[in-house]
Symmetry: C2
Subunit: 284 residues, 2 copies
């Protein structure tokens, strides 16, 4: 198993993607911050199935962290990430230095408007501008045909789709399903922060969402009742601090009072010092 | 003389540009708001010289006008514009409807940071976000190899270059010199708003800049003295209301106290109800 081609420079990365496209191949991109888990790898496998060539980016993007957040201690292990990507057949990895992405004088920021304001955007006011900006840059540096994002970061998928539509970016955004631990906890690089005790408690998020999902399957369509259901389960867990529960029209950040059609039930909570998010999709 | 190919749709426009590039040709783009004058046409001629295929866009972009500004009365004559572009050998014109560029729900905006804040940005706080956003869209809709902008809108050139660098857009930005009327007035689509009397008075802007240029040629390097020189000439003209004079390090919006190297002397003034801008470049 050979490691993927490691690319650190912008021009070489663009040239690699364009070279494959000139050869008539389709290219899939998986943007990541590294610390790769089965969630990321499931996106890479989907890209491997759909596309002729696959590139992942590994870049812990400083502009999507607030000064108080975990940018410095965010887990980094490029060597291990490259091996995991090799194992699922990824061809190339773009892993730039911070100064390559943000040289002195860089000042441009992309605001996608209302979908970035609430929920994660309310807790993390500069987060989605950082996400949108770095994703736009990745799309111009590695101008892939398809780009893969995980459903776990639901609001991020809405933000990225908004930006892609509004800036007419010629890329197809593909959303892959959340991958879960056997007990239901959504895979997240930040799960590594949890103590063994916190790790046990963290299952409250997915349990709450599953309870709401069952309620929905039984016919409940009132958003307030579904929210209350999640809240009750999460708040019953000690050491878990609920931040929000939202019931959203699928693909949007709109909160209907009564669900019609597919919806997403999303939750954020702090488990000890670690902030976790999760969501489930319910069909109509 | 055949008219350029008229394109109103995004996909067809991208396909036209890419088709030329697939055939091994370079493509030049001239983004305009129509109401074309010799300034625009000089950019089109430069593109015609430099590139194998040339496309202009004609789009009066609502997001770069404030509600109080002249969006509704901005001159529009696509037929005449197409004829003028044909005369200088432009191959295609992208002239979309407002709803094509901004369908319902569009909400994304690009902020290029400090270079957009002062001078034109101070008078027109939403202007450069509108410019940056529409230019980014035009660059993804018509992914040309080179894009041409006029030196007359100097701060716009700084904003566009900042965005292109920060978003890694794969386009070469080319700046063409300001084209002037015989008496020195910089060509502008907004000159059409001037009454015959105002048209006479408007020459004060270029006269002021020329006076500062002569002072610079005689050895003056203090920005305050150069600004004062422009101010005196412009304010001596009745019915002309000076808005700002700036002496800027070339290619930036930095204001040195003493010029070293190339610089730009820029002025804005209202002539009657019409706001005009102009600038000159001075070498070291």
């Amino acid at each position: 198993m050979s490691l993927p081609l490691l690319l650190a420079e912008i021009d070489a990365t663009r040239e690699w993607v364009r070279g494959r496209q000139r050869a008539g191949e389709t290219v899939g991109l998986i943007p990541t911050m590294g610390a790769l888990h089965e969630g990321h790898l499931s996106l890479a496998k989907a890209a491997r199935r759909d596309c002729d060539a696959v590139i992942a980016s590994v870049f812990v993007n400083p502009t999507q962290f607030a000064p108080s957040e975990d940018f410095n201690r965010y887990p980094r292990d490029l060597n291990q990430d490259a091996q995991r990507l090799a194992a699922v057949g990824v061809d190339a990895v773009f892993a730039p230095a911070v100064e390559t992405m943000y040289p002195p004088g860089a000042a441009t920021s992309i605001d996608v408007g209302p979908v970035a304001r609430l929920f994660e955007g309310a807790s993390r006011p500069t987060h989605f501008a950082g996400v949108a900006t770095v994703v736009a840059k990745l799309f111009t540096i590695a101008p892939a045909d398809r780009a893969y994002f995980g459903q776990k970061d639901y609001q991020q998928t809405v933000v990225v789709r908004r930006m892609v539509a509004d800036l007419n970016l010629p890329v197809e955004v593909v959303i892959g399903p959340t991958v879960r631990e056997p007990d239901g906890l959504a895979m997240s690089s930040r799960n590594a922060y949890l103590s063994p005790d916190e790790r046990q408690r963290a299952v409250a998020l997915s349990r709450g969402l599953q309870a709401a999902q069952r309620l929905h399957a039984a016919g409940e369509r009132r958003a307030s009742t579904l929210r209350e259901c999640v809240k009750n389960v999460v708040e019953a867990a000690s050491g878990v601090e609920l931040q929000y529960v939202a019931v959203l029209r699928d693909g949007t950040m709109d909160e209907p009072e009564v669900i019609e059609g597919p919806a997403v039930i999303a939750v954020a909570a702090k488990v000890g010092a670690t902030r976790l998010i999760d969501n489930v999709r319910v069909e109509s």
